[in-house]
């Protein structure tokens, strides 16, 4: 198969699958020396990525993102809240990342995955750092009512690079978000305006604000550092064998939103950091294109 010969080595007498299971690290290192990964990708290439907008009819905005087999479903539901005293003209966005038991053999009901709250926090930080959403746009009636956007992301299939896929589905869902037209009723509550009756009962309070202006869209790429190799967009198998991960988030204007390297056995030299950033730049361009295509596909329908 794809293995170079090693004379006198146990591996020459072993089946490839058995070798892969018994000596996963050596299996990978032999591939890396040939600048190829077991799934046939070059080291710096991400897996095939697709986005489908509007996957959930019951939500105000939704998107399904797939990177290889890693699948994320994100949906935004808009609810109304009373804004806080400190910021009466601002709405709020609450982001939560879920790993239900269907997504991976390591998650069981009642025993949530350790990764879920960490990814959740990373997503909130990234989206607030990037400043992609102007919270003022979520205001309805100053001091009285504002939108609370609940953005929930579900991992449907976990196969590595969870944060990348989660962020991609989250920004796509916000991109797809259509804010319902609402009006203030007599009880001082915000209700959805009914448009099917021909005439509106009340003037909607958010006539112009039906779509969010996304100032800059953050995209991310996770890389594995192993020895001198950099592997972009790892699968879960790769993540389990080589543990040092670096996640770089850049926005459309090439600002660095986050450089996240939580420890790991391999140290990141400045040259490696720069290589990761360069790979991410290329990826941002790819993802931007995929998102645009998903959006234009929607308009045709």
């Amino acid at each position: 198969m794809g293995l170079p010969d090693a004379s006198g080595d146990l591996s020459s007498e072993m089946e490839v699958d058995a070798f892969r299971r018994l000596f996963p690290l050596r299996f990978y290192e032999r591939h890396l020396a040939e600048s190829i990964r077991p799934d046939g990708r070059p080291l710096g290439r991400a897996r095939d990525t697709t986005i489908a907008l509007g996957a959930v009819a019951s939500a105000d905005g939704s998107a399904l993102a797939k990177i290889g087999s890693t699948t994320m479903l994100a949906a935004v539901k808009m609810e109304v809240m009373t804004p806080s005293m400190e910021s009466p003209d601002e709405g709020c966005i609450a982001i939560d990342f879920h790993m239900p038991p269907i997504c991976s053999p390591i998650v069981r009901p009642g025993r949530p995955a350790e990764a879920a709250p960490v990814v959740s926090k990373q997503l909130s930080d990234t989206i607030s750092s990037s400043g992609m959403i102007n919270l003022k746009e979520l205001s309805l009636v100053s001091g009285k009512a504002a939108w609370m956007a609940y953005l929930d992301i579900y991992c449907l299939d976990a196969d590595g690079a969870l944060f990348d896929a989660a962020l991609l589905s989250a920004v796509a869902a916000l991109f797809h978000l259509q804010i319902p037209a609402v009006s203030l009723n007599d009880d001082g509550k915000i209700v959805v305006s009914e448009e099917d009756g021909g005439k509106l009962e009340k003037e909607p309070v958010n006539k112009e604000k039906r779509k969010l202006t996304l100032r800059s869209i953050p995209f991310s790429l996770t890389c594995i550092l192993h020895k001198n190799y950099i592997l972009a967009d790892p699968t879960s198998e790769e993540e389990a064998i080589m543990e040092t991960l670096v996640t770089v988030v850049l926005d459309s204007s090439s600002q660095l939103i986050s450089l996240y390297k939580p420890g790991g056995a391999v140290l990141a030299y400045t040259s490696a950091v720069q290589d990761c950033i360069a790979l991410t730049r290329q990826r941002v361009w790819e993802l931007q294109k995929i998102l645009d295509e998903a959006n234009s596909g929607m308009e045709v329908d």
Partner: protein, 243 residues
């Protein structure tokens, strides 16, 4: 460039450092670390027999429990636990005590900015106090980036909130001429120039980030000198504690 910091420090000046070790009786190792008003206490228990969940016949396991000053454990604490754990794992020699678990408990005493770096420094000092074999030290620092592009080190909470972006960085520090087997060398870059951990918040340009790296790296030299000075004289005196 002149800048005004509330406490009158220069941009590169750190707050007064304080470290005391062996402060808890029952723990196998403990240390407190403070940077100005930010103070963290760390305790190390172990290596002890591995728990079922963390069992690994080839490697030792490090677990971190983060105790906030007040209130419940939320996502932030979970994230910090994960970062501290992975950072400590990278400096411990995990193959020496396979199938064991070392618990590190991080208790926040006061948070006045740069909390995570302070906690990592405390945890590292506590590991040394417990006599856990380490590859090298980990020294953590927070670099803050202001709108006008200048960088200040070791910010207080107020400064952290005012600034547009900040980066928590952890650098390795060792005094060894021979690197341990298996570690890689990059031509032209000493090991001290690599980063163990990086966590950033807020948008910045890539050049600004690299600038932060340089400034942080320079400051950690001073911090590690302080750490070594504080910990060295005591190491010979209480070897009895290792058991």
């Amino acid at each position: 460039m002149e800048i005004d910091r509330v406490d009158g420090r220069t941009e590169n000046q750190l707050r007064p450092l304080a470290c005391s070790r062996n402060i808890l009786n029952r723990a196998h190792g403990s240390a407190s670390w403070s940077q100005g008003d930010t103070k963290v206490l760390a305790a190390v228990y172990g290596p002890k027999a591995g728990v079922k969940k963390n069992e690994n016949p080839e490697k030792a396991c490090v677990e971190v429990i983060w105790k906030p000053k007040t209130g419940q454990i939320g996502k932030l604490e979970k994230e910090y636990e994960m970062i501290v754990k992975r950072t400590l794992q990278s400096i411990c020699i995990l193959t020496i005590n396979p199938n064991t678990t070392t618990s590190v408990i991080v208790q926040v005493l006061n948070d006045d900015g740069s909390l995570l770096p302070c906690a990592i420094n405390a945890a590292c000092a506590a590991l040394i106090d417990a006599g856990i074999p380490l590859k090298h030290l980990a020294v953590a620092i927070c670099c803050c980036l202001a709108d006008s592009g200048y960088v200040i080190l070791d910010p207080t909470k107020l400064e952290e909130q005012k600034m547009k972006a900040f980066a928590y960085l952890v650098f390795p520090n060792l005094i060894l001429s021979v690197l341990p087997e298996g570690s890689l060398k990059v031509v032209g870059e000493p090991m001290e120039h690599a980063i163990i951990t990086s966590v950033t918040q807020g948008a910045m340009s890539v050049d600004d980030y690299l600038h932060c790296l340089d400034r942080g790296r320079a400051a950690t030299a001073k911090m590690s000198a302080f750490l070594r000075k504080t910990l060295q004289p005591q190491i010979s005196s209480d070897s009895s504690k290792a058991g």
